[in-house]
Amino acid sequence: MMSASQSKTINIRLRVWRQESREAQGFFEEHELKGVLVDMSFLEMLDVLNEQIIKSGKRPLEFESDCREGICGTCSLVVQGQAHGPVRGATTCQLYMRTFTDGETITIEPWRAKAFPVIRDLVTDRRAFDRIQMAGGYTGAKTGPHADANAILIPKDLADRAMDAAACIGCGACVAACPNASASLFTSAKVTQLALLPQGQADRKRRVIRMVDQMDKEGFGSCSNLQECEAACPKKISIQNIAIMKQEYLKAALAADFRAGMGSADGGA
């Protein structure tokens, strides 16, 4: 008993962004696809498109994906003007053709943000996120043996809230959706997770200062509370995290002992 829609098909027109390289001018290329099964995923539809392009002897469309189940954060398409497409709480790879109607024209673009330059077609370079993470998105714990895992009890609601923040998949939709191309939602999710947990306390202040500074350095815009990020986020990361990050930042910046500790490995606080 397959779903009733199984054998239903639609015809669609696609406008896809093509761009040879970072420096090259991009443009929209048009394609028609007939008999698209509505139970196909959006990326499977693009696979079919690519087979068609290859068979005509042309260079296939470059787009990224890996897990195709919404967890790795690799897929990254703006579909119909929305990061990850029109379905809330889903990544591009979790989008199904049943969302679209027969005869619809679908526009597909890459993430657009200064800090995420296009490499080719729909593939952008998101390594700026790694550099934000590098600037403190960790606890100072060393690898190797540690005290028993149950030595520090963590209340369930705290652990759950930390997990809510930790669910970020680093996809960058928040940046793509934000008119300022701010990376605040991404950065605040990590800051909040570690600020909530006892394990994150030792370098709490140093972490938030460095991560926020790095975010600015990468050319991401600032947050002006437009809330587009939360709406686009496939993991429904809450903008409350941004409020927490702003507080954390303020507290850390004001802390008298912070500057003194800035240079040392274990930080202030």
């Binding site: 890996d66 189940e69 993470q133 043996p145």
Partner: protein, 644 residues
């Protein structure tokens, strides 16, 4: 000429072997550590944990992955959990029991000493992950929560909602980024490793391709670790990520590293069934669902197309509970998968294709309430709903087995070193500790055990032992690098050149390969089928060489990457068929129809096959040579693996 392989297991009683190893290993003094560099390929649980740990010891580490970021490695997708013999629930667990369950679960085809060490390390893994801020699930008491997984009668699985792999990987990734920040690790993202470079009999570097620019690069070091994941993508359709591949370990195999047990593949019982011929990948429904879901098919064929809720209990066959009363729905994966295939073969499968069984939560929802089930499995239920457009809170899920994990991989000794000196393999990439079948929640444990707790010692021992040689640095202008690079370039040029003339796309040939391997080297294998597979794969290899259609250039070109991987997977497919053909017994995930008990269970042949098969590459189109490592059991008695 076949040789007997020496696993290098340390002296002493089982529980002291690892301590003995550490007590006798060579060290590298702290001031000297920075003189050594180690290449770690792969940033999944095994690679990221190894790179971070080696860097923290003081070595200069170079970390490679094919993605833009280390955090995207396929480990991120693991859902269910990670095992550890913490025994927090006080339900009779111990290092010994985890060891025993793993050996038995692997159908007595794993190395005792390795498995025992794995069970020992398991508890430290949890401690370390908590210290990294991994938000494991907790009880209201604030203590860590546990659940149970297939093949075990205790609750030893730790989890972070349905995203355990993600949280563990982000933990390891954060450790890695900390070392990058300190300048001890250099990241090389967007790199695909295409060869290992051997200098004077030791692994001293790799050749990579920058997938965004197409540049071919040389990288030198004093030791090389491959942590590049499993090769389930040989089946085309699997639960593995699109970029999972065999290329890194296959290129090492071509350079002389032996390949262990290639035919041991895990087919996971609970995946969303195939629904069309356009599909590129299958989705797993975590095994943890079997804690509360009951597996059944109708007793009568004529009921198969009916609405499942209209079928009364007396007309349902809860076949796992019926056949394996003591483990029931939590029977191990190989057994559950085969049981599903059996009932479908009998014509009692459900769904349009008849290739599915029900996983039903009706009783659990009645017992615990919908809210409790949502709390436990909410994201999995949502995922199911999204993909199938059906609501599993209302009607049972339909599931079918799919390829999930590969127990085979590069043969390694006790120190995780391959047969090439200085080349180590960790995580799913090695032939591992899981024998012929892996228990759920044990891959994450093994990856982190390898990376956090084994390689830091064994790589050190290697560097310390060969200090004199290794302190003479090789540079990338060495002739060995020169010729390896040339070969890599020639292969890419050949594919691009041939690709202009052919008619069959990479995907078309790849799909065909997947179908052959699934039909003939899947859940049931026969001598005749395996011979057919060899012939069919040979034909596909010819298609690849003479009729490939490949467009685009040598810069960012996913299709070109895929072509290179397919080339290796075709060779691997043939090796799997050979390995399955030679192993004339059934064990774990390897089921030879010629070798079964009267009631259809796997029939092992300990007398002739209690060994690891390790294959030597002899060149393209040449017949590979099968070597053996005898498996010696001093602590457990080989017995019939019963879950009844």
């Amino acid at each position: 000429m076949s040789i007997e392989l020496n696993p290098g297991i340390p002296e002493g009683p089982l529980s002291q072997k690892w301590d003995n190893y550490k007590a006798n290993m060579k060290l590298v003094n702290p001031a000297n550590k920075r003189k050594y560099s180690v290449i770690v390929v792969g940033t999944g649980l095994a690679g990221a944990s190894a790179a971070a740990s080696l860097a923290e010891l003081g070595y200069e580490v170079k970390s490679f992955c094919t993605h833009d970021s280390a955090r995207r490695a396929h480990s991120i997708a693991a859902q269910g959990g990670i095992n550890a013999a913490k025994s927090y629930p006080n339900d009779g667990d111990s290092v010994w029991r985890l060891f025993y369950d793993t050996i038995k679960g692997g159908d007595y085809r794993a190395r005792e000493a390795n498995v025992y060490r794995l069970a020992q390390n398991s508890t430290s893994i949890i401690d370390q992950c908590v210290s990294q801020g991994v938000p494991f699930a907790r009880e209201y008491s604030g203590e860590l929560a546990n659940r149970s997984f297939g093949g075990a009668q205790v609750s030893r699985t730790f989890y972070a909602r349905g995203q355990t792999g993600q949280q563990l990987l982000l933990g390891a990734y954060s450790q890695l980024m900390k070392e990058v920040d300190k300048g001890k690790v250099t990241l090389f993202p967007y790199r695909e490793m295409l060869d290992v470079v051997m200098v004077d009999g030791k692994a001293r570097g790799i050749i990579t391709r920058n997938v965004t620019t197409g540049e071919i690069e040389r990288h030198a070091a004093d030791a090389v670790v491959l942590a590049t994941g499993g090769y389930g993508r040989v089946y085309f359709l699997s639960t593995n990520a699109m970029n999972s591949n065999v290329t890194a370990i296959w290129r090492a195999h071509r350079r002389g590293a032996l390949f262990g047990n290639p035919c041991y593949v895990q087919i996971h019982p609970t995946c969303i069934p195939v629904s069309g011929n356009y599909q590129a990948k299958l989705t797993l429904m975590s095994e943890s669902l079997r804690n509360d879901g009951r597996v059944w098919v109708p007793k009568k064929k004529e009921d198969c197309k009916k609405d499942p809720s209209s079928i009364p209990d007396e007309d349902r066959d809860y076949y796992l509970e019926r056949k394996y009363p003591s483990f029931g729905n939590l029977a191990p994966r190989d057994i559950s998968s085969r049981a599903a295939k059996e009932v479908c073969d009998e014509g009692r499968g459900v769904g349009e294709s008849g290739l599915a069984v029900y996983l039903d939560f009706r009783d659990a929802i009645k017992r615990d309430g919908e809210a409790a089930i949502r709390e436990r499995y909410g994201n999995l239920f949502d995922m199911y709903h999204e993909i199938t457009n059906e609501n599993p809170y209302r009607s049972p899920m339909r599931i079918y087995p799919a390829v999930h994990y590969t127990m085979g991989g590069l043969w390694v000794d006790y120190s995780l070193q391959t047969t090439l000196p200085g080349l180590f393999a960790a995580g799913e990439a090695n032939f591992s500790d899981h024998g012929a079948n892996r228990l759920g929640a044990s891959a994450l444990m093994q990856g982190l055990s390898d990376g956090y707790f084994i390689l830091p010692y064994t790589v050190t021992n290697y560097l310390g032992t060969h200090a004199q040689d290794l302190l003479k640095k090789v540079d990338v202008n060495h002739a060995a690098f020169e010729s390896a690079e040339k070969e890599v370039r020639a292969e890419i040029d050949r594919m691009l050149e041939n690709g202009k003339k052919g008619k069959r796309t990479v995907t078309e040939i790849y799909r065909d390969l997947g179908k052959v391997v699934w039909d003939k080297i899947g859940m049931a294998r026969s001598e005749q089928g395996l011979k057919e597979a060899l012939a069919e794969i040979e034909k596909l290899q010819k298609d690849f060489d003479t009729d490939l259609l490949l467009t685009g250039d040598s810069k960012l070109n996913k299709n070109l990457e895929m072509a290179g991987r397919l080339r290796d997977l075709l060779e691997l497919g043939a090796l799997m068929a050979r390995d399955a053909l030679e192993r004339k017994e059934s064990c774990g995930g390897h089921f030879r129809v010629e070798s079964q008990t009267p009631d259809g269970e796997a029939q092992r042949d300990d007398e002739n096959f209690a060994h690891v098969a390790a294959w030597e590459y002899k060149g393209k189109g040449q017949v590979p040579v099968r070597h053996q490592e005898k498996l010696v059991y001093e602590n457990v008695k080989l017995s019939v693996r019963s879950y009844k």
